[in-house]
C-alpha cells in the first residue's frame, strides 16, 4: 500500500518536473518560434492584397489596390494620415503596426476561386503574408476565407455581398466590412414602398450563381413583406452578354417592376437592354414601369452611362457621404489619385486599418488575438459612420445607402445620388437568421496556424 502511494507520488513528481522541463523552452521561445503562421520576426510585417488584376473586374481590383496602398502609407506615417485622424480608436500612431513597418505583396484573383486561392496561398507561403485582404466576388471571398482559416491567417474580405460569406460559410478567421444582400433588401424596401407603393408586381432577372440566388431571395422576401407580388424569377447564365430575350417577355408578364439581380458586366448589359426596350417609358397595371438594381458600384454606374438615370439601388459606401471620416478619406484618395474612391476601395481601406488597429489593441499579430480584438468592436471615423463588428458572425453593421442614378450629373463621378441613409437598426438580423445558415452556422475555432 505504502509502496503504491510512494510510487504514485513519485510518478506525479517526476511527471511534473518532466512536464515543466518540456514546457520550459516553449514558454521562453513562444514569441520567437512560430507561435502562429507567418509571425513577423524582423522590422517589417507583410500584408497580402488579393484583388482582380486581370479579367472583367480588373478596374475594380485596381481601385481596391490604390486604396490598400494608401492605407499602408497612412499606417507607416506617410501622406496626410487620412482616416487615422478621424478613426475613433487611437491605437494607430502612424509608425506601422506594433512598431513594424508595413509592406505588402499583391496577388491576382482573376475573379476565379481557384486562381484566388492559389495567389493567396502563394502570398502566405512564399511571401509570409500575415493577413489577406481584397477581392470583388463572393465566390472568391468564400474560397479565400476557407483557405485563410486553414492556413491560420486573418482574412479581411473586400467586396463580397452574398449572405453566405458571413452566413453559412462564416469562419473564425474571416471578417467582412462590406454589407450583404439581406441588408440591401432591408434598406431598399422602405424606399421602394415610399416611391412605388405597396401594390407592385416584380419580375426578377437573376445571375445564376450563389450571389445572385442570395440577393434574389433577400429582395423577394423584403418586397413581399411590403405586399408586392413576385411575378417571376428568371435565372440568367453568368456568361450571358445579351439579355434581350430575357427582357422581351417582361412587359407582357403583368409585372410593373423589373429587379436586376446582376453585377458587373451582366448588370451593365441587362440594364442597357432594358432601357433599349423602353421599359422605363411604359405604363403597366396603370403605374409607371420601374427598374431596381439592388447592388450598385461606381464602376458599374460608369459602364451603364445614362441608362442608370433614376434607377434605385443600394451601396455600402458612396464618396458623397458627408461625415468626418468620409471627407478625410475622399480628400486623401482624391488628392493622390485624382478621382473619388469607389465603395470597394473604401471597404478595403477600412479593412486594412481595422486589422492594423486590432493588432495594436491586441498587442499581437496572433490571428486569435486579432480576431478577439475585432469581435464586438465598435468604431466610427472610417467613412460609414458608427459601425459594429458583430462577434457572432464577423459581419459589420452600419447604415446602408440607398442611391439613385443621377438625373443631371455635373461630372464623370457624379453618377449616383444618395436617396436615403437607412439606419443600421433597420438592417440588423439575428446571427442565426435562416438566410445566414440558421442555427447550424458557426464560426468554428480560431486557427493561429503554424
Amino acid at each position: 500500500m505504502s509502496n503504491n502511494e510512494l510510487t504514485r507520488r513519485g510518478l506525479l513528481r517526476t511527471g511534473a518536473v518532466a512536464g515543466a522541463g518540456v514546457a520550459l523552452p516553449t514558454i521562453f521561445t513562444a514569441s520567437s518560434a512560430a507561435a502562429y503562421t507567418n509571425e513577423p520576426t524582423g522590422g517589417t510585417v507583410t500584408l497580402g492584397f488579393n484583388v482582380p488584376q486581370t479579367g472583367p473586374y480588373a478596374d475594380e481590383g485596381n481601385d481596391e489596390l490604390l486604396a490598400q496602398q494608401l492605407a499602408v502609407e497612412h499606417l507607416n506615417g506617410e501622406g496626410d494620415g487620412g482616416c487615422l485622424n478621424t478613426f475613433t480608436s487611437k491605437a494607430l500612431k502612424g509608425n506601422g503596426i506594433l512598431g513594424k513597418k508595413v509592406t505588402f505583396v499583391t496577388g491576382d484573383t482573376q475573379t476565379k476561386s481557384d486562381a484566388a486561392r492559389a495567389s493567396a496561398k502563394s502570398m502566405i507561403e512564399k511571401d509570409g503574408a500575415i493577413m489577406i485582404n481584397g477581392g470583388s466576388s463572393s465566390g472568391v471571398a468564400v474560397a479565400v476565407q476557407g483557405l485563410c482559416q486553414d492556413a491560420g491567417v486573418i482574412f479581411m474580405a473586400g467586396l463580397t455581398h452574398a449572405n453566405d460569406t458571413t452566413g453559412k460559410d462564416r469562419k473564425a478567421n474571416g471578417f467582412r466590412h462590406f454589407f450583404n444582400a439581406y441588408m440591401s433588401g432591408a434598406a431598399l424596401a422602405p424606399v421602394l414602398a415610399k416611391e412605388m407603393g405597396n401594390d407592385r408586381r416584380a419580375y426578377h432577372l437573376t445571375a445564376d450563381y450563389n450571389w445572385g440566388w442570395t440577393q434574389e431571395e433577400s429582395i423577394v422576401a423584403s418586397t413581399e413583406a411590403l405586399g408586392w407580388e413576385t411575378v417571376n424569377t428568371v435565372k440568367t447564365p453568368l456568361a450571358s452578354t445579351d439579355f434581350s430575350s430575357y427582357i422581351a417577355p417582361v412587359l407582357n408578364s403583368g409585372a410593373d417592376v423589373l429587379v436586376l439581380n446582376h453585377y458587373g458586366g451582366n448588370m451593365v448589359n441587362s440594364l442597357t437592354n432594358a432601357i433599349q426596350f423602353g421599359l422605363l417609358d411604359k405604363v403597366a397595371n396603370g403605374k409607371d414601369f420601374k427598374i431596381v438594381v439592388p447592388l450598385y458600384s461606381e464602376l458599374m454606374a460608369a459602364g451603364a452611362g445614362e441608362n442608370i438615370k433614376g434607377v434605385l439601388g443600394s451601396m455600402n459606401y458612396n464618396w458623397q457621404l458627408d461625415n468626418e471620416g468620409s471627407r478625410a478619406f475622399v480628400k486623401s484618395f482624391g488628392e493622390k489619385y485624382g478621382k473619388p474612391p469607389s465603395n470597394s476601395a473604401q471597404t478595403c481601406y477600412a479593412q486594412v486599418l481595422l486589422y492594423a488597429d486590432a493588432c495594436e489593441r491586441a498587442g499581437t499579430f496572433n490571428p486569435c488575438g486579432v480576431a478577439e480584438a475585432l469581435e464586438g468592436f465598435e468604431f466610427d471615423g472610417l467613412g460609414n459612420g458608427k459601425t459594429l463588428y458583430r462577434a457572432e458572425d464577423h459581419q459589420c453593421f452600419k447604415d446602408v445607402l440607398v442611391v439613385r442614378g443621377a438625373q443631371n450629373p455635373t461630372n464623370a463621378y457624379d453618377t449616383l445620388e444618395i436617396v436615403e441613409i437607412t439606419p443600421v437598426e433597420q438592417v440588423m438580423y439575428p446571427p442565426n437568421h435562416p438566410m445566414f445558415g440558421g442555427d447550424e452556422a458557426t464560426l468554428g475555432e480560431c486557427n493561429p496556424g503554424a
Partner: protein, 343 residues
Amino acid sequence: MDAILLQILNGLDKGSAYALIALGLTLIFGTLGVVNFAHGALFMIGAFCAVMLQRLLNLSFQTIDESQKDFLGNPLKVDTPYVEAWFGPETGAAIIDWSVPLAILFAIPIMLLIGYVMERGLIKHFYKRPHADQILVTFGLAIVLQEIIKYFFGANPIQTPEPSALRGSLDIGVMIGFEANAIIYPIWRLVYFAFAAVIIGGVFAFLQFTTFGMVVRAGMADRETVGLLGINIDKRFTIMFGIAAGVAGLAGVMYGPLNPPNYHMGMDFLVLSFVVVVVGGMGSLPGAVAAGFLLGILESFASTTWATTTIPGINQIIIYLVAIIILLTRPRGLMGRKGVMEE
C-alpha cells in the same frame, strides 16, 4: 402568338451578329483554309473603333467654372469638345451624337489595314501548317489583341450609345394589329438587323456578280487550277481576308449600342460563332448565314420563361445541343460540301 413573333424578331436580331461573324470566319476558312480564332478579336476591335472615334470627337479643352465645385471642393473644370467649339454647340453635339454610324467610315480602312497586316505578317506563315497550329497562333493573337485594348481602354464596359433619333423602341404589335405593348422592339436592334442584311447581301453580291468574286469562288473550289491559269489567287485571298476583317469590324461597330463594348466581347462570341460555322457547314457561306439566324432564333426561344421552366437550363445548352444533333444527322453541317476538312 405575339410572344412567338417577339422571340422570332429577337432571334433574327441575335442571329444577325452570329451570321456576320460566322460569314467572316467562313470567308477566311473557305479562301485561305485557316481556322481563325482571332476573328472574335476583330469584332471587338471594330466595336472599339466606335469607342476611339467617340473619344476623338470628345477631345476637349478645359475652362474653369468658379461657380461649380468638383468632388474635392476645387473650382470645376468644364470640358468643351473641340467639335462643339468649331462647328457650334448644336452641330458639334449632333456630330458626337451620330458617332456610331460615323464610325463605320472610320472603321472600314482601319479594319482592312488590320486584316491585311494580320494576314501578311502572321497568318500567311501558317497556311501549310496543321489546323491545330493555326488555332493556337490565332488564339494567342486574340489574347494579345484583347490585352492591348484593355491596356488602353481598361476592363470596364464603355457606352457607345446610338444616335438619340434612333433611341427607344417601336410598338410593332400595334402596327400589325396586336394590342399595345404586345410586341415592343428597340429601334437600334431593327437597324442592326437591317444593317446585317445589307452587309450579308453585299458580300454575296460581290462574290456572285463581280469578276473578282468569280475568281475568288473559283479559287475556293479549286485553288491549284486557278493558279495554273496564271491568276494570282493568293493576292485575291489576302484581299478577302481584309474584307472578312472588315465585316467583323462593322458588325462590332454597330453592336456597341446594343451592349457596351468591353475588351472581352470577342471571346464571348468566338465559340458561338464556330458552332455556327460548324452547324452551317465548314466553308459554306449560305450555311454560315442560315445557321447564324437559326441558332439565334433557337437561343431566343430557349430563353423564354416557358422553355426554362419546362427544361431548366435549356437556355444555356440549346446551341450546343443543336450542334450535336446536326453533326450526328448531317456530319458536314447544314450546307457543308464534301471534302472540306476531310482530307
